[in-house]
Amino acid sequence: MMFMFQILLIFKMKPKLIFKVNINKHHCRKTSKLERTRYRNHNKPADFFLGFSHTSGFPLLLCDSFIYITGKVSTLTTMEDVTCERIMKKIEAVLSQDTLLDEFDIVFSLGEVNRSPVVHVEHKLGLESWCVKHVYAYAYAKIMGSKQTKRREDPAQVLRWTQFCLLIAPEVTTFWNLRKVLLGQGDLSANLELHFTRLILSRKPKCMEVFQHRKWMFKNVIAKVIPQQANGPNGIDPEHHNGNGVVFHSEQIERFLFAELDLCTWAANKHQNNYHSWNHRLWVIQQFATYVGLVDVCRAEYEESHKWISVHVSEHSGLHYLQYLLDSIVSLVNESKVENVSEIVPYVNSVTKLYQRELDFNRDLIEEYEDHEALFCHRRFLLTRLRDLLCSSPQRTCSPPPPALKRSCVETVNSEWSSVLLGEHFLIEKCTQKKTYQKTLGEKHAQWLNNVIGI
């Protein structure tokens, strides 16, 4: 099999320069069945084309229409080491000098013109695609080689190699881990790393590993109290970076966290249902709870999330975040951390009114933007919460009431709950009169009310 494809290599490839990369066999195992399946399901043609495995980061060799994972020793047509290093140095220079850099992308180009593949224009960084798989394979081999020999490499070199590889393949945690070690040792500034991760998000806004790295950085680098440097604190620009080596007061942590919220909004706008960025946002709120205080941020976030939802009506992630916020607000009230809901949501005096207001907002969106299931899912959440609030009575135990008693919940006290249910009936009637998917959604909602709420 190996023999067969070496023959094919000779026929298919047009070698310019051949050099052997001794990729140690530990790093070039055959792909497992699981990995191949993940491949097919992920369907990342872009990464195949660029020459690396999306899941593991292994460099692949693209040989016309053949894609294969290398065995023991691989041969690649590629460029010289010096050129690879030069390209990586150029990228490193651009990244460190241009602090306003906000986008990175790989630009398709056949590389026929003899010029540098690094494109730097208007604070955007581009890399021409012809060089990507060669430089990546080189940098990858260097990184893995240095790990294998356990020789202490010059940190600057490791940073440069990992920086390049991460721009291409940010899903590979090995590269991030190497950088974490260097961050811990102080060989890498948090400023630059935050800027770098933001740049990566501009190309892949749904990359889980980037968000994880930022979380790690917050916990291990930024939130730690570090003695002030002799030359005094630098101006901290929370949009791009936070100073390294400055004593962090809670005010500065607060600014960092607010900047993190902006980052989440930006990433969420870049890719639909970007739940990694929404999860990150939830984590930020939790950090607010620990370090700063929830009241102010809940007030601001309540406004923001309503604005966002109004223009992204079919995104489950955004609605889920609003649900988390509502639960946080309610728990703040229940734990007496605020006297009244109106401190967080103006003009709303009670938790019941809060849910009712949410139901109104949701209904208006349903009526205006038809055929979006996410709004109905959110509505079900609101109704469940409201039911638990209005229909709970001191005599009941924690276990849910048997179905017969569910009905009595409706009959006994609550005129409030009854009017809510009446509102639901009207909504369902309106929906079922339509002829589009909205009708199905209305019918499903009626079914849910029947099965779960018991009416």
Partner: protein
């Protein structure tokens, strides 16, 4: 009847201001549907949502898609075609003047079709019909499209002036779930892309490598 939103508390729910920063409409084009092919007369694009280096290819693709869809839409019919995360709305009039709007899938299609109506009426009033079949795009005397595109990003504002729902009947809009549905039998989108002369090599490669399949639901 048009249900206008009456917020419980008007202080915090000012919906009009919410729309101003969101890009929902990406392109508006006016075309002439000739006997053989469709000819682009004028177009405007809002591509700030796309990566800097991708905008050229994205614009080429939008032009390409607008043309394909117009060619396969019969006169006096309206269609809304879903293609990945985008919706293409097209209306071809009896006099073969056509309008195409490319939006995201949350922008209401009734509003998009109303926008096309307005744009085509305005265009026909300002650009005489004899110019449509053969004039070059740069020579067409019509420059209102960019401002129109910006204005209609906020469907509320545009709607309020035009009373949308009475004008365009929903039932007359044909909805398609993929662009393959409007192609002729045996035609494949990949072949059309490859054969097209208006797409650069860069765009064709971009098409092959950047197509996402159901990526909104994928984990990574």
């Amino acid at each position: 009847a048009y249900t206008s939103f009456v917020p419980a508390c008007s202080a915090s729910f000012d919906l009009l201001s919410y729309y101003t920063t969101m890009v929902k409409l990406f392109a508006i084009s006016v075309l002439y549907k000739g006997p053989e092919s469709a000819r682009l007369l004028k177009a405007a694009y809002d591509l700030q949502q796309f990566g800097f280096f991708q905008r050229g290819s994205v614009q080429e693709f939008m032009t390409f898609t607008s043309k394909i869809i117009t060619e396969r839409c019969n006169p006096c019919s309206r269609q809304s075609v879903k293609e990945q995360e985008y919706m293409c709305h097209v209306y071809v009039r009896a006099d073969n003047l056509a309008g195409v709007v490319i939006s995201d899938h949350e922008y209401q299609y009734r509003v998009a079709h109303n926008m096309i109506n307005k744009v085509l009426d305005d265009f026909a009033a300002k650009v005489p019909a004899h110019l449509w079949p053969s004039t070059e795009e740069s020579a067409i005397p019509y420059s209102e499209l960019p401002a129109t595109l910006t204005r209609w990003q906020n469907p509320r504002e545009a709607d309020a002036l035009t009373r949308v729902q009475e004008e365009v009947e929903e039932t007359k809009i044909i909805l398609h779930n993929t662009i393959e549905a409007v192609l002729e039998r045996g035609e494949k989108l990949d072949d059309l892309v490859n054969k097209s002369e208006m797409l650069s090599l860069q765009s064709k490669t971009f098409y092959k490598t950047a197509r996402k399949t159901n990526s909104c639901c994928s984990f990574g």
